[in-house]
Symmetry: C2
């Protein structure tokens, strides 16, 4: 009976989450800022409390030269785009996870910023750089932080990070309830022309194996010959999509009602199985960097 009441109370923690799929333009920081804020406002009107924007939403993706990347990247916090996201987060009482090209002095990172109703919360810098990103960006040096917020514990990773099962595992081991993934998915080896891209299955496997929500906001469109895949998706802790995949080409806001804190209960599958505790840490474990503090479950 006590358990039943507890589950009912848990259900009161439902929040609406929104993946804001759109097409940032390279070098069009002003337009990108306006468009991303308009989408956040639209999602907030629909009741969203957590909005996720694609990777590099401020600057676009395909840089031709290092100079161009340096010019388009912005300081975090403090830049015009991040201030605009902070302002709308305060005004509409939402949390926003948004990909942004970050400049720190002469150094560039492919980052994601988390802002909320109380302002700037933190930044994640992409750990695994994809292809020519390696020509412009430095690999992330902030580890894989998990941010406790009033709506639950938010973990962040970006695009190719998802290809490394260690990423979501390390976020889950730190207690993440939801892993937000700003992304710019592109075709990978073996990619099919029809059906969901492999990234969808990576989201499903990561959510299922770690019993966490996974919410991926992808971009659409083409930039300097590089096509992007859309297919934004929200996956529940059992690994099955609860919203999407979105279409491959058009702007789209994907909504999902999520009880983020239920990710904690979802790890217990029976009196004899628990998805994180069943790990054979007597035989293997993930050695953690200095920024990673294992969570007490």
């Amino acid at each position: 009976m006590q358990e039943m009441e507890s589950r009912v109370r848990g259900r009161e923690s439902l929040i609406k989450l929104a993946c804001l799929q759109f097409a940032p333009g390279v070098g069009r920081n002003d337009e990108n800022r306006e468009r991303s804020c308009a989408l956040v406002a639209q999602a907030a009107d629909a009741g969203a409390r957590l909005c996720i924007l694609p990777e590099l939403s401020n600057s676009g993706y395909v840089f031709n030269r290092r100079d161009e990347a340096l010019e388009l990247a912005e300081e975090i916090p403090g830049s015009e785009t991040v201030r605009a996201w902070e302002a709308i987060a305060r005004e509409r009482a939402v949390f926003i996870v948004a990909g942004a090209a970050e400049r720190e002095g002469g150094t560039l990172y492919n980052s994601a910023v988390l802002v909320g109703p109380g302002g700037y919360i933190g930044t994640y810098r992409k750990m695994h750089l994809w292809y020519e990103e390696k020509l412009f960006f430095e690999p992330g040096n902030h580890g894989l932080p998990v941010f406790p917020t009033t709506i639950g514990r938010i973990g962040i990773c970006i695009c190719y990070d998802l290809w490394f099962p260690e990423t979501v595992r390390l976020l889950a081991l730190q207690g993440a309830d939801v892993v937000c993934i700003p992304t710019n998915w592109v075709p990978v080896p073996g990619a099919k022309t029809e059906g969901p891209p492999m990234a969808i299955y990576l989201c499903m496997a990561a959510a299922h194996s770690n019993s966490v929500f996974v919410a991926a906001a992808d971009r659409v469109g083409e930039e300097r010959g590089q096509p992007f895949l859309g297919n934004s998706v929200v996956v529940g802790p059992d690994g099955w999509p609860i919203a999407g995949p979105a279409g491959p080409a058009a702007d789209e806001i994907l909504y999902a009602e999520c009880n983020l804190v239920e990710a904690r209960r979802a790890k217990s599958w029976s009196d004899l199985n628990d998805t994180l505790r069943d790990r054979r840490t007597d035989f293997y474990d993930i050695t953690l960097g200095a920024n990673v503090k294992p969570h007490a479950f």
Copy 2:
């Protein structure tokens, strides 16, 4: 030109792999032995060089009592069933990976044996025990060995092991070309009544993230009220199925032509990306048990 020639030579390493989906009966070790050997013979007739049999192919799965499990488990090597598998492997010049209940003195393991044309090669003991297996079996204490053979490097894991991304990662880091998965898949939380089970997506994600072949041989049928899912599958190093999923209910031999050694080349996605080398081992790494020797790539 040299690269092109090399790729042509690589293609000569094609072998036919076969997942032998059937329904072992609990307590019917004699029948199970005959049936499994008949399936191996049938697959060998069709040209298979590597045959994979389901989890606990010698004994069946659902034990009622510890005594029953002790009675049905067999010593490895040396038992009647393992000797039969050795004999047919020699006779037909095939490799066989077969799940088997193993008894060592009074101790039980949920194991898989690898035999080949030259006889017994080795045993893997399931690391992650599912649900009531924990009541009868000891957790595996042999680590996650990879066996070099004349057809390529064979890694083995069993059923619930796949739910832990560390498993296939550790096999890939030791150089496995193919991960063979004897399994007895059952419905898990969130399971759908239609379409492929979540296990298929775990196979796809594991193969893709690690650029290895994954071949899962599941059982079918029902045993003491426990249904099994079939859906045996073979996935290529790009993560997409190359054979199956098989049906959910009937015996079936699933064949796939695989160039196992190509798993080594498949890790290089471009001049700037390699699926294993891109791991951020400066930030995280998997601490390995004494039996695990990282492979020099």
